[in-house]
Amino acid sequence: MTTTARLALALGCALAAAPALAHVTLDQSSMPADSYLRVALRVPHGCEGAATTGIRVQIPDGFRNVKPMPVAGWTLTTVTADDAKPAEGHGASAPVKEVSWQGGSLPDNFYQEFILRLQTPKEPGEFFFPVVQDCEGGKVSRWIERAASGAPEPRYPAYRVRVVPKN
């Protein structure tokens, strides 16, 4: 094998193994069941060049004790399972279904992470974290397309997480 071929192979592997950095994603695609984790929501760009002004993420069923980390300059709100009542106090209250950071301004060429602490479901399985990215000028990118595994990657995929048995 020539050096070129070896390098090309390495490049191919690097590209194939790299997470889909072009999208709004989480920093881990595989999580142990029934565990407390810190998860980062990565926002690598705006919507078609426009600065990001809001991030909303829907928490899939089964994830519990969600606590989002506030970000300076952004208004943090949560929506709980029993309607649109904001969650307060200890994590044992009504489960958080949606977390929203609004009112900031993240230019297209900057990068930001939004942090959640959560407890993973008791049972292993496959879950999606759909995210709505609001941007300046009323632009919206909805990272909500749930593709079956093996299907071609959609334009705006929802991030897929595999919860695996706890060791």
Partner: protein, 529 residues
Amino acid sequence: MRRLRSLLLLLGLLLAPLSGAWAHAQLVESAPADGARLDAAPPALRLSFDEAVTLLELRLTGPAGAVALAGPPESRGADIRATLPRDLPPGTYFASFRIISADGHPVGGGLVFGVGTVPDRAAAPVTMAAGWTLAAEALRFLLYLGFAIGAGGALFRALVAEPPPGLAHGLAATAWLGTLATLASIGVQGGGMLGAPSFLALLEGATWATATRSTVFARALVVAAGLAVVALSWRARGRGGAWAGAAGALLAALGLSLSGHAAIGGGLPRGLLVAHALTAGFWLGAFLPLLALLRQQGGGAAGAVRRFAAIAMPAVALLLGTGAGQAALHLPDVPALWTTLYGRLVLAKAAGAVLLMILAAWNHWRLTPRLGRDNGPHALRRSIHAEGLVGLAVLGVTAVLSMSSPHAGAHQHGHHHHAAAPGVAVATEAGGLSLLLEADPARAGTNRLVLHLARGDGTPLAAPEVWLEFSLDEAGISGIRRRMAAQDPGRFVLEGPELALPGRWTLRAEILVNDFEQVTAPLTLPVAP
């Protein structure tokens, strides 16, 4: 040389994660713009992306198929420029591209523009389109006749009395007539979808194959199977034959609900249609057997007449109820009853039904008690004759009603049963939603697309956003995205030149159900030349 290349690759590997904004490249501007209509052919095509891109493929498709570019496209950073051949003929052009953005993701997209005035090719064959519509309506009438007399007669046999043997042959023949008319309607549907220039197209296999893509196909097969069972059941004597005939009638009624608006609404409209068809068949199908029994047995038929009347009363109530229910489901508002063709036909049907009820009441309360007297059977027979004629008229109105559509003229807006011709309707289900897409005229050129969107339970879904992505693989066209305009709840419209070429288009519907949920469904739409 090899070392240099290795070095470059290594450099690329190191720099790759640092460069760019990690975004899929987006097309931010183009000249001509997507959807533009130009007076003269443009000298070049220019695409501008929001970041540097590598062009993989750029294809231009025009009214006569693929268009060769005047030279290889020039790529400069985020811009791509392709020189176009001089004097492009007037028509609609598609540019489809595939690029690789900084993160290595291939991205496809496309745009449409028009040059000059596009001849309205849809206008020419209108006379023949009307011919296909008329043929479809005539066959629909024969189908209803076969259903009412054949399947209705079978229901009479199962629920009221055995008709005289002489009549059984006629009833079986009518059921066969309905079977044949239903099968023939498949070819007529295909001819209408293709916009074939003459009825000779019925001799070509492609015409029939085209119809298999329409919802009409499944309905025709099931209805024909049901009516064939009805026709065969007359050969079996006794209760077994009677119940086989009733089962065939039920199958045919279920088949009727497989196309049209009842088909996308879910359980409720389908159930209404099946009940409506069965009760109408029972009522109309009883005329001939009752007449034959009266002629043969005179006053001796009084038992059968009373048994019929006992079932007919609740059956007619159900018939009217299901008819009103369907009208309420399909008409957008009350004024549509007189402002649309569909509404007027509903009123005509209701008037016919009222006339039938008056005759039936006359029969029941005045003539049936007099059956024992000398001229009793004769008077009742005359009245049933009149009922039969009104019933035929109602069937004729129904055949037009179930095919009425915006093509008929008086129709302004709102719901209508989709047409078999000249438009095309395709249906699918995805993510618990049912979609019915109507294309008018479904011929190459400007088209009006109407998408009806309903939840599983049949209620219309007022989705916040609906997009269609057009592609035609055989012509290399892909990535044309258009947003549909919401009209009434659950009804989305798009009118434009996107379907400029004939062929099997794939329309990918993207339906935003709520902030976090999107349903996508591919629809295949045949577009005629």
